[in-house]
Subunit: 373 residues, 4 copies
């Protein structure tokens, strides 16, 4: 057994208690909060989201499919059920937007209630900002979604996937209006936002605007994202500000990305398969994020349920418990130890998987690509 | 529009008609039957199957998760809902086996009823054969599962994943007892079965034993599997025998496999990510299978719903219709044509994806591995 | 010390003796004969041969450059100085051919006299055979070169780089006329010659025509060439024939070659750099050739002097001595043991170099190519 | 013909004239000066230099081999014959040092006299500096070599391969004593010297110390070296200083190097083959160096004669003439246009070679390595 008796009882106690606690109480007590993973990319592969549009109408068209994915993340160890409301604003979805936001809240709450998870209402950057920096109009779009979240009484709020810190600040300012904790993540690289504002400066502005949790999500793989987080952390320290750190990177390896991330890679979005992270890559990422002081650790596009479970398994010693889905997973491949082939049994150990250099099976393909810009 | 008005009405007519037809009527009329995809590997990643054991207890423990996966394959275009009964025999599951088989049949039938799909009861090689070639005992195990399938009135039967033709022949002999069509697939390479019996000879023996459909599944990627099929076809032709051909390969690239397939690759089973096929790889595979004369085309481990959809989209011109999930997919990436970045819009065409050489994002990893044996 | 006192004196004795011995006496006594390496490709890079033409006019235009390369191979351990007369026949060189052959013989003899080496007169396939199978005209071309070799009194003869066994047989028939030992090598793959005559059959015909030494050279890398040799050996055994085996492969890795070899690879001839073998690859090749029973071991295009030295070093335990150029080479990198950096010192051992998987430094390039045909 | 009549006569005139001109007159008139290439690594492969020691005793032991390499570079287009005196100081060679320096000067002068080349006396960093920053002792070592160079009347002086700018400054100070032009190159990356002094600052100090030509050599591949040069150029501009720029990088691709360059790569020094640059890579490098304003362009370890020829061919339009060795080279592969195979003929053009992505032929190897530190 990974975890001894004593830790288990502590874990039970903790679990019971955390149900009564909000996101900030958890983070402030030093607890690790595990985010959820990929919805758009994963549901695209399951047949419920259209690539190119990337809108979440599935919450009303195919609620079973969305519920099922929430359940998988919950079982994998997620402590947050984020409403599947990415781009579900009036500018992207017309009249459907309101129903979509409401249905998404209901699904998230329904599943969250089956485990130790909070519900987070999620908004993202608008389609408008890059053409018209019209603060009033953009804030109105944010406020429309927030009204649904407030009505459905979500536990906290996430503003995510912002390329420009100015728009992210506007989002925080709106979200603060409902008196719930606000987390905000930008989709930027260590080089900074689209106007070259550094990650450190972005973090400072967002905390000053009222965010309690700041970080990055999407667009870049785990390694790049952790570099950006490090710069945010340093920026906050220099400014004498405090905030919780949050990271939700791609589940893809993207060392060859340019400043705008994986969208510019020639494989985006229909040829990313060979870049997908293994569970062992994610354990390494989770450990590094933890060591950097990040306590809200999840994933974005490409993070399948088993990747979330890998975070929960890596940090089980610190947290004191394993997630439900670990019933179906031998830690570090241990369930292979009964295989009939001795060389497969030999893979039932940590050293094997930590050191594996997995082949692509594609000898006519390169290992890196040049981004289109 | 991919398909004109005329084809659509033909398609409607055909759909209506095929609902009344069994697997052999469909194949004999020249129709393409699309199989389903990966259950064990896919549900492992979703948290419901344990790698190493690879047993389908999820049908009773988490029926929603299994139903959802069936639904995804149905929407993607599968014409067969295979019962999730792999290894669900008494030797692997003890007393649970009967409930598992029954529940799996119910789930498959429930979903099949929502579309144009048949239910196939599935058995596979036993854990016994390699130690004791005890025909009576092995046939008894097959017969136990068959009794459930007959009771639940499946439409036809699939015996799959056989390494030894002798055991596969026994399976066919048992399955024939229920007077339903029998399909049989072996998990062998062009080098033949574990006793070096050639694919051609294997096919001949299986057809002589009573199989109406023969082919290969699992263990090898699409390219290798099609080579094996070609040898089976030639063997049958030389012997003057007729049978329908069926192929359900891995959704992974495995040019470096040895005779026993992907199990011996160092990446099996927890580091196969970078070998995963793209949808475009699968369109190519579907076209080649079709050109070889194969009419039952599906997938095995690693075939996600969108891979099955890729088969249905590639063969839509021949079949006259697209699957339901193509509502959420622009053919050849066409839905990218409204992207804000011109270089992403430029990816909205067939030539782009057909010629893409996707990078692994892993410059420290090789492109091929040496199998462990 | 690699070799003890006793072996050294045996070696001296042997060296003295072998000077009096011809190629067949050496091979029949079980001695390893080390061939030389690359002339055309190497002198192209040094500026004395024109790619595309691939003719050896350098022997008259720049004799110093040719002499120097002979010297380097002699120092590296070559026991054969092959005249640089590839394509130096009337069909390729017009009136120059006679002077070129004579000068090439003089250079080879001059350098051979400085060490333990024999002079071999070399001819290759004509430019005519593929268009006109005119035996009389082709034999006349071979005989013209042979007359110069006889006049210059070479020690034995090599007919090399034949794609068609029929033309190779004609070459052997002509060369036999001068009563010198004849070696013959074809540039074929395990699939056989251009008319699909198997390597085994080719070897049989060549030995029946009078060749004492048969094998392969050029067109394919070490691994492929050794496979072809194995088939030749089996063919001779089945036919109850005896001959010495000889192998002189490319110094490039070509696992992706088609039937006609490296010429069809897209990198030929100006982009082959990243395929070049290391010295350690060549030690492995030399050991395998020896284990297969090959006793005339050398190289062709891409075999630089240090590759020949690697053969001599690998087989030093069997031969009892090291070549002169090993004064400038610590076996298995041992001369690194005084490097100032400890991690470079750690490379001064066999295990390090045997297990190194050298990176290409080219992450945007594939590891294999598709041949042009 | 690449170059018309008019240019040729201009070229002749220029050639005649430049023979009367020193290095600075040439550079000041805007002429491109082509350096030479690899001696240690190249002569190691030819059997005359011992890896690990890397000393040039070959100039007395095997002068023919050294003369031949000088000749190859001269024919390839080098305008500088640098004395093969790397590490030929008393600390590395004991009593032999004086003879080696004298013989190296004689060889360089002998070959330079056969073409349009100057003789440069070369020194490099000592083995002492890293342990004892003993200015007097180190300067004495430099002065000893300089005395031979002065006696042999070299045309100018090169101080190369310095990791620390302080020692490089000492070298320049000594070399200035003989009233000849001084070039100095450091073996540093864009990150700066071993004490983190930036390339810009290094360049400034070296020019202030009296160097007329500054730049980088060795340790890093062409792309990295040009980045360092750019920083040097910017540093000089900011300081309002003027100097000629010089670049002599590795002929290997090293994008994965750390701060100390290729020595720390696991392939150093016996497994670098697959990193070797093609001639087309070098044409690209030469063009970029020229566009950056560099006018002294050569190479270091791994630069074979044909790489130097590639510089001369790329810059032939600017210089007005081709080097002698281009007699044996069809520009951009043009000599392939008579090949018997049409697909090889199709390679006789610039677009083909510029766009080729050469495969390594090594599917079990990665494309990048992690440096040992």
């Amino acid at each position: 057994m990974l975890l001894g008796k004593k830790k288990e009882s502590r874990a039970e106690f903790r679990c019971f208690f955390s149900l009564l606690q909000g996101i900030l109480e958890r983070l402030e007590s030093g607890e690790v909060v595990i985010g959820d993973g990929s919805f758009l990319i994963t549901l695209e592969k399951r047949g419920y989201v259209k690539a190119g549009l990337w809108t979440p109408e599935a919450v009303i068209e195919h609620p079973d499919a969305v519920r099922q994915l929430h359940m998988e993340f919950l079982r994998a160890g997620s402590n947050v059920m984020q409403t599947f409301t990415f781009s579900a604003s009036e500018d992207n979805m017309e009249s459907k937007w309101e129903d979509v936001n409401a249905a998404a809240c209901d699904l998230a709450r329904e599943v969250a209630g089956k485990g130790d998870a909070l519900v987070a209402g999620g908004i993202c950057q608008t389609s408008i900002y890059k053409y018209h920096k019209d603060e009033a109009r953009i804030k109105k779009l944010f406020r429309q979604q927030l009204e649904v979240f407030a009505w459905k009484n979500v536990d906290f709020l996430i503003a995510e996937y912002f390329e420009h810190v100015e728009e992210a600040v506007w989002a925080v300012e709106v979200l603060k209006e409902s008196d719930r904790p606000v987390a905000v993540t930008m989709c930027i690289s260590p080089e900074g936002d689209m106007h070259d504002i550094t990650p450190g400066e972005c973090a400072v502005r967002l905390v000053k605007a009222g965010a309690s949790i700041v970080g990055v999500n999407c667009r870049f793989g785990p390694e790049t994202s952790l570099k950006t987080i490090e710069l945010m952390k340093e920026g906050l320290q220099r400014a004498g500000l405090k905030a919780h750190l949050m990271v939700q990177p791609l589940g893809f390896h993207t060392p060859d990305c340019g400043k705008e991330g994986f969208v510019d890679l020639p494989e985006y979005p229909f040829g990313l398969e060979s870049r997908a992270a293994t569970r062992w890559d994610i354990q390494k990422y989770a450990r590094e994020a933890y060591n950097q002081g990040v306590r809200y650790i999840g994933g974005c596009c490409g993070f399948e349920p088993y990747h979330i479970r890998a975070i929960a398994e890596e940090l089980a010693p610190e947290r004191g418990f394993l997630p439900p889905a670990s019933e179906k997973h031998g830690s570090w491949g241990s369930a292979l130890d009964m295989h009939t082939k001795p060389w497969v049994r030999a893979r039932a150990r940590r050293e094997y998987w930590e050191n594996l250099l997995p082949a692509s099976g594609r000898p006519f393909c390169p290992s890196l690509s040049k981004p289109d810009v």
